[in-house]
Symmetry: C2
Subunit: 361 residues, 2 copies
């Protein structure tokens, strides 16, 4: 067993939880589900799998201070800010270099900062299995989620039968990674029983992922090599500021996963929810008899299946209306139909286009 | 022509405009339509018809300070607070006594404080006609509104053919006053062409209305006589505190109008709207192409026919939802379907029943 690390990817903008989430306080810095920020919960969840010194967080300049507050137990230098967002392949490269500087033969898991997982013991056990799979052979390991339905918001992983069994858990060979499908295609995937959701959770050893970069993303590989050299001589801060924005901007799925033949998938045996938007929080709370999920100073009269998020003593009342999400914050309030939550992005574009309203982003 | 007075009835609770309206700031103290409180607009509207010294406002203890602020040009003693609400017959009696103390032969108009009337010149002309009608004979005069539809929220006045013409305007004899009808009955009223809405606007001379009290509401008449005696000897404040709460609690329609044979109606020739609830404000503003009425810091994305009231720099955004009224205030926010605005009362009952939430009333 090589030394193990976890790198938590905490750079999302969290637009879908506006107005609670803002540029400087995205979803992973908010207690969307649970009492602590999602990032804090994510760090706590990997304790026991790796030592705290081996947990990195990759975030943005704007969110760095917030991430530090959310991770008081991590060494400050383990929190690293990308100067600009360069998509997930570059972030994976940065993660690889951070781990490599500590231990060039180590394995590391890349984990999103903002998922909800309640079954922590099983999660830790499964993560150990994924580490073991990554260490057993020259494999790129992903943790696959059994689809709860034909979601079009996720990429999918097609398995190709059993690869090995580790600690009593099946690990499957992977036939291919596919991008977000349309609804018909997604239905076919789910019906086939061969597909998992790609939840963006990966485990691999530094030499294995580095070889994959070299083989499938040579331009990015070259850029990372340069970054590594400058970081080793002058430190991360200057190296990132100087070189990071030049890295190719592509996703890890497109750069590596769709092109690699040495991928295996560990089917998740824990509960999992990415809580992708406001309507998704309902299942994590106890609704009233009419299906309303209502926070402390919210109220619903003659309405069903509403979500009302109101705090700091502000009363928010929904009367004679159903299937709404209503979120009150100190300076902005959102009322959105549950089926239209994806249109929050259109609202945010309007805010961005209006100088008088940019402060609400 | 006898001396003329106007008594503005400004005691409504304005529940239907919660959360803008509260116990101490009901609808008539808010600029629901227009830039000034509805009461201020009502006072301005009668200027030119009567001198400002002849304008009284009857309100409640809780609203007295707010009414004073809304009527800075009226003599302070012209604003009188009922110690408790005793319905409109007692309020009419109080109005009568206030006017009688100034001039026992005067005529006075009783006018609600919170109606919207844009055609002020025509309104003033019509009010002069109503005064002239009241002074021409021993008549109880009401101003009737031509029904815009079979509303069940108003009482109706059935006319019985022409009585006189005054200044070129028809005044009609009245067959009867009827209470709020059900929808079928209201449709029949409207179809007949014989009915007006009873908008609670009355004009009469002191001796005529006093005789009506004596004939049709003797218990109230006796109570008013006692109140008059105490007010003349010891002032209004003590007399009201001592006696007002003992007056019978009945409506002016039931106590006098439905029982009197000497009623005439002046059909209104001005625009009129009682703006009974939030959905009714829409027609007084310019909607966007999708029919949304949105205040300064409100926004609607992909929704139609919403009313969004948001100010003080707070952003209120409606996304993917239609036919809602959304009202944001500093401590409370309401989201109500346009067709369910009457259920705001059920919400307010819940607030009243919860000690922790009474502060929002």
């Amino acid at each position: 067993m090589s030394e193990r690390f976890v790198v938590i990817m905490a750079g999302g903008r969290g637009e879908r939880f506006w107005p609670k989430s803002r540029l400087a306080t995205p979803k992973h810095l908010l207690p969307i589900v649970g009492d602590q920020p999602m990032l804090t919960q994510t760090v706590a969840r990997v304790m026991g799998v790796v030592p705290r010194e081996n947990v990195f967080v990759i975030t943005t300049e704007a969110q760095l201070a917030g991430c530090r507050r959310a991770c008081p137990d991590l060494p400050e230098s383990n929190l690293v800010a990308e100067p600009t967002g360069r998509d997930t392949a570059a972030a994976t490269g940065l993660a690889m270099l951070l781990v490599k500087q500590r231990n060039p033969l180590a394995a590391f898991a890349m984990l999103p900062a903002d998922h909800v997982i309640h079954q922590v013991a099983e999660y830790r056990a499964l993560l150990q299995v994924a580490f073991a799979a990554a260490e057993a052979d020259e494999k790129l390991v992903t943790i696959g989620i059994k689809p709860a339905g034909p979601e079009t918001g996720f990429g999918y992983v097609q398995q190709a039968g059993p690869w090995r069994e580790i600690s009593g858990r099946a690990v499957m060979a992977v036939k291919r990674f596919v991008e977000k499908p349309d609804l018909e295609t997604a239905k076919g995937y789910v019906d086939s029983g061969q597909y998992f959701w790609n939840a963006g959770m990966f485990v691999w050893r530094v030499p294995v992922v580095e070889a994959a970069f070299k083989a499938h993303a040579p331009e990015l590989y070259a850029g990372l090599a340069k970054l590594e050299g400058e970081a080793n001589s002058g430190g991360w801060s200057a190296a990132l500021a100087h070189l990071y924005s030049n890295l190719p901007k592509i996703s890890i799925d497109y750069a590596l996963m769709e092109k690699s033949a040495n991928v295996v998938v560990v089917p998740a045996t824990f509960d999992w929810d990415d809580v992708g938007a406001w309507p998704a929080i309902a299942k994590h709370f106890s609704p009233d008899a009419a299906g309303n999920v209502v926070s402390a100073t919210g109220m619903v009269v003659d309405g069903a299946n509403n979500i009302v998020v109101s705090d700091d003593g502000h009363l928010t009342a929904v009367v004679g209306a159903s299937d709404l999400v209503v979120v009150h914050t100190a300076d902005a309030t959102l009322v959105v139909h549950k089926d239209r939550a994806q249109e929050i992005k259109a609202l945010l574009k309007l805010l961005e286009a209006d100088p008088a309203k940019r402060k609400f982003l």
